[in-house]
């Protein structure tokens, strides 16, 4: 049978020679192999002192975007929740009242929007499903916590503050956007 990798070796039951039987050359060889590792670069990244560099299109915790006027883009259509394979997203929709035009872009908005970060698998399908460019995954990580409840992120944590906009342009390049609209 032809081997797949060309790395297979036939097993032999030949008698060991004297040098092999006293094991000392093998032991000394082994000692030098481990000694070499003393001078190798450490693989450890000392988080949180050091951070492993993450790509600009890293799929970390989510952000709910506002439009250029500072109004929330989300219309609570629920497509992200349907797309979510882990069923991590829930929301409650609400009608926009008069005088709230500066807060919400469309007539309908999400009064409650929750993502359970313990269920989320950070696949990015919510982002792909969103017709309003409202939800994006960011470079940020979800920090640890002692309570399970604290992993359910509401709008207070997800919606980007007006004063501190989150840059998602790297996940929003022309190819990505055009692919999204062509697929639809």
């Amino acid at each position: 049978m032809k081997s797949l990798t060309n790395r297979s070796k036939a097993v032999s039951n030949k008698k060991m020679s004297f040098l092999e039987r006293i094991y000392l050359p093998a032991i000394i060889g082994g000692l030098f192999i481990t000694l070499k590792h003393l001078f190798k670069r450490r693989a450890t990244v000392k988080w949180p002192d050091e951070e492993r560099p993450r790509s600009d299109v890293y799929r970390g915790r989510h952000v709910l975007k506002r439009d250029e006027n500072g109004a929330e883009r989300c219309t609570a259509c629920g497509l992200c929740a349907v797309a979510c394979p882990a069923e991590a997203i829930t929301m409650t929709s609400m009608e926009r009242k008069k005088g709230e035009e500066g807060l919400y872009r469309e007539e309908k908005y999400a009064s409650v929007y929750e993502i359970n970060m313990l269920r989320c698998i950070f696949c990015g399908l919510c982002e792909e499903a969103c017709p309003k460019e409202a939800i994006f995954l960011t470079k940020e990580l979800v920090p640890t916590n002692y309570e399970r409840e604290n992993f359910i992120y509401g709008k207070d944590k997800l919606v980007e503050p007006v004063s501190k906009r989150v840059d998602v342009s790297k996940r929003q390049t022309l190819e990505v956007v055009s692919k999204k609209y062509n697929d639809r």
Binding site: I27, G30, T34, L38
Partner: protein, 342 residues
């Protein structure tokens, strides 16, 4: 006389402190060496580079619950780690740490007790060391502990034979049982390792086995015996067992250096033209450098070799090391007679 008494007392205290200190930092070194050999960083949180880690570990040990099993032999259970620790500390008494030092008009040797039978003393105390493990394992009234203790003690007794026989060859060439004389006989680069390489090899293998270190650490193996003889121990009693092991490692390294690597002797020590005190102090430092190297070697081997199976261990001890040691002994004897003839 009284100055000598004070000096010796001070020396005992220093040796005791150094022994404990080195054993303490061996635990740190062990973790660091293990980490470095595996491309990791190791403990680095307590103090710079983690050098306060042993203190943190010791503090942790003290604050753990000191549990004594109800069905154990209470006094023997407490005695076990005590014996292990006591024996480990006693062996440092006869090791010559350096040459002669002159202080306050009094010349004395940097050795607590230069007894004529230093090496016998060490072998004797090593044999008592088995009792600490055996009593602790038996008194726990736990099958795993007992089995671990049986393994450890049968291993130590088996390898003591080969160890004694390999030391005999060294004693024959140097003609003395006193460790001080053995070191003096290696003065000027005449290290025993060049004359007795086989004895050195046998001795170092046996030293690994006596210390219950990898690849001979069959007494404690998680999957089969949980912790071996110290399964039931907790808190500082466990700490004593582990600590005794590190002290034994330190003493073994010291004995290897004394018997085979010239102890505090170093090359060209007579050609430097320094005063005797300076030579002695450099000698002490050289001796500790040798000891540190061998402690490192113990750890290096631990993270290189897989452990033996128990039958392989006994096979190596009884069928390989002892015949080799006897052959080496006979060869050394024949050579000594031959040398005298011509």
């Amino acid at each position: 006389m009284s100055t000598l008494l004070i000096i010796k007392t001070v020396l005992i205290l220093i040796v005791f402190g150094i022994t404990l200190g080195i054993a303490m930092y061996s635990t740190y070194l062990e973790r660091k060496v293990a980490a470095f050999l595996q491309d990791r960083v190791g403990p680095d949180r307590a103090g710079p580079w983690g050098i306060l880690q042993p203190l943190a570990d010791g503090g942790k040990m003290f604050f753990k619950e000191d549990f004594i099993p109800q069905k154990s032999e209470k006094w023997l259970f407490i005695l076990g780690p005590g014996i292990a620790m006591f024996v480990a500390c006693m062996t440092s008494a006869v090791i010559p740490w350096g040459g002669n030092l002159t202080l306050f008009g009094e010349t004395f040797k940097l050795q607590v007790a230069n007894v004529d039978i230093g090496i016998l003393y060490i072998l004797g105390f090593l044999s008592i060391g088995v009792y600490g493990i055996m009593i602790g394992g038996w008194a726990s009234n736990n099958k795993y502990s007992l089995y671990g203790a049986v393994r450890a003690s049968s291993q130590m007794i088996s390898y003591e034979l080969a160890m004694g026989l390999s030391i005999l060859a060294v004693i024959m060439t140097s003609g003395s049982l006193s460790l001080g004389d053995i070191v003096e006989s290696q003065h000027g680069g005449q290290w025993n390792v060049f004359y007795q390489p086989l004895a050195f090899l046998l001795f170092i293998v046996c030293a690994f086995a006596e210390c219950n270190r990898a690849p001979f650490d069959l007494a404690e193996c998680e999957t089969e015996l949980i912790g071996g003889y110290h399964t039931e121990y907790s808190s500082m009693k466990l700490g004593f067992y582990l600590f005794a092991e590190y002290i034994n490692m330190f003493i073994s390294s010291a004995i290897i250096s004394v018997l085979f690597f010239g102890g505090y002797n170093f090359p060209f020590m007579d050609d430097l033209g320094l005063s005797e005190n300076a030579i002695t102090l450099i000698g002490v430092m050289v001796f500790f450098a040798k000891i540190t190297f061998f402690i490192f070697f113990f750890m290096w081997v631990r993270w290189t070799l897989p452990r033996f199976r128990y039958d392989q261990l006994m096979h190596l001890g009884w069928k390989t090391l002892i015949p080799l040691a006897i052959l080496n002994l006979m060869g050394t004897g024949a050579w000594l007679i031959f040398k005298d003839q011509f």
